[in-house]
């Protein structure tokens, strides 16, 4: 997993909307996805290319159409590496801050 590509891909509202659209209905064509975006088709293509480079979306060509599918695997890996790690220490991390704040008051 390339954390950089995944986070950068997720760091744009248009691309997050594309993932949501695909979550509602998987396997949509570029044209279908564009109907829900207010930008030129070529711009959407670029966004989908970034999602594909991050492995968040896979595509299949069907005739002159290109179908887009979500790949949930990188999201899970992001969770394992970047959320669970901090999640596990959640209480102790907040404890550190609370302790520091209390120390400040003394």
């Amino acid at each position: 997993m390339d954390a950089d590509k995944v986070f950068k891909a997720l760091g744009d509202p248009t691309r997050r909307k594309l993932l949501d659209l695909l979550c509602e209905k998987n396997g949509q064509t570029l044209g279908q996805l564009c109907e829900n975006l207010e930008m030129a088709r070529q711009s959407a293509t670029q966004h989908l290319g970034i999602l594909e480079a991050a492995n968040l979306v896979s595509t299949v060509k069907r005739g002159r159409e290109k179908l887009h599918f979500i790949n949930p695997v990188p999201l899970h890996e992001v969770y394992e590496r970047w959320v669970r790690k901090f999640e596990r220490q959640r209480l102790s991390l907040l404890h550190d801050l609370k302790k520091e704040l209390e120390g400040d008051e003394q």
Copy 2:
């Protein structure tokens, strides 16, 4: 939670390293964090400012020092909104793609 700020904050290797550093030892000063980065102190300040704006880091002033603490809450919220959603449909999403690929072969 501001998903845009959180993902953009996470979309930079320096900032992810800062989070890792704080995970190893919470409550570090700017100077301590800088020792582990190969860039000017002012650049690190900017990165920490972005992490703070995304609410991923909280700071406390202690004399002339500034202590930095991880705030794991936004990460959890990101997980709830952007990972679990797709995680729940993980198998069915992959099924959609598999089905499409099989259909292509027929």
